[in-house]
Symmetry: C2
Subunit: 222 residues, 2 copies
């Protein structure tokens, strides 16, 4: 158990270093030597976890959705909104999440399969939309795969625009505006009226998750 | 007049070459020498039009909205949809437009002011939405600056997702899906019912523009 904890920590140290190097140098220019020296681990430790630069980049990309799950909600549309809003909050605050999203959009990253981030987020969206539909929360014409792709694609662009225009300062406002434009075409009006789409939602749910984590750790110690 | 035509052609040759080099090498790695040799023009000709690599990149970025205007429509929402759909069609078919959009999203392009593309498209959106509102086509709560930014940001992401997932093959379908999700929150239902959002719209309006261009040239010769 202790060994496994250490392996998880080392893996995260390497990914954080890789994220930093990819951010600064771009995927194409970044080298494994630079990542090694930023991580301060041995070559053996790095290659134990990751076989190649591509493998490291895919590891960084997949970190962005590893920190789920979001707290379960009675209203599945709210749960989906929470997933989007917390992701936006993490983009503002977590360099690893930021690097993963940027790698997914790095059109110069030849040889890197960048579909993973899009596919996993779409799968999360389809799952939540399907659950929402089962509870009667969605308008009857909604096709979960189509709506999930619209949400994932549009979020990717809104975050890129926010990064360009304000270095992510205006991201919560832009995400709220996006959801206010899309959800009325997806969600029953009576359900949407009770969904919290406000700009502070991401930070609030993130706090909730931190508190849950502390409680879980305390429970594990007793 | 002949000299001016030649200058316009040379400028376009240089921009097309720059677009190609930026696409292949990324903004950061690209050099003016590579652009010179791809363009096949003299150094003097290049520097007559562009002072620096940044200037070349901004030229490529601004080409994406230079090919407007879209034909005027009685329904301003249709005119806005046409602008979006033709842009999507050009993204599929014109390497210069594609390079401009990619440069706008190139987060490794340090020292390049990438806001221009977003700002100009937002301004186009605000203008058309304001005209649409003056004709009573919009729902009363719509704020044109907010809606324009949502459209521009979400389009940027949907095109990036389409490039990653299908090398732009599914772009018209994704853009139609995006507009079907956003416009019901923006446009009066009775107006929206008459707007053509189908996937073939971009190609059809592009054909219309080509025919207009041929007619204008014929008229100029008589």
């Amino acid at each position: 158990m202790v060994t496994q904890d250490r392996a998880i920590r080392t893996r995260r140290t390497i990914l954080t270093a890789a994220a930093k190097v990819f951010e600064e140098r771009g995927y194409r220019a970044a080298t494994i030597s630079e990542i090694l020296s930023a991580a301060g681990v041995t070559k053996g430790a790095l290659y134990f976890h990751f076989a190649s630069k591509e493998d490291l980049a895919e590891g960084v990309i997949s970190e962005q959705d590893q920190q789920l799950p979001i707290p379960e909600r009675a209203c599945k549309v709210q749960e989906m909104v929470d997933a989007v809003m917390v992701h936006a909050f993490r983009l503002q605050t977590d360099p690893l999440v930021r690097a993963g999203v940027r790698l997914s959009l790095d059109q110069q990253a030849q040889g890197l399969d960048r579909r993973g981030g899009f596919l996993r987020w779409s799968a999360v969206g389809v799952e939540l939309l399907t659950a929402a539909r089962a509870q009667g929360e969605l308008l009857p014409h909604v096709v979960p795969t189509v709506t999930a792709d619209v949400l994932v694609g549009s979020f990717a662009g809104v975050q890129a625009m926010s990064q360009t225009m304000s270095n992510y300062q205006d991201l919560p406002a832009r995400v709220t505006a996006l959801l206010r434009h899309i959800l009325p075409s997806v969600v029953m009006p009576s359900v949407l009226a009770a969904v919290d789409l406000t700009e502070g939602r991401g930070a609030a749910v993130n706090d909730e998750l931190q508190q849950l984590h502390v409680l879980q750790q305390a429970a594990a110690l007793t």
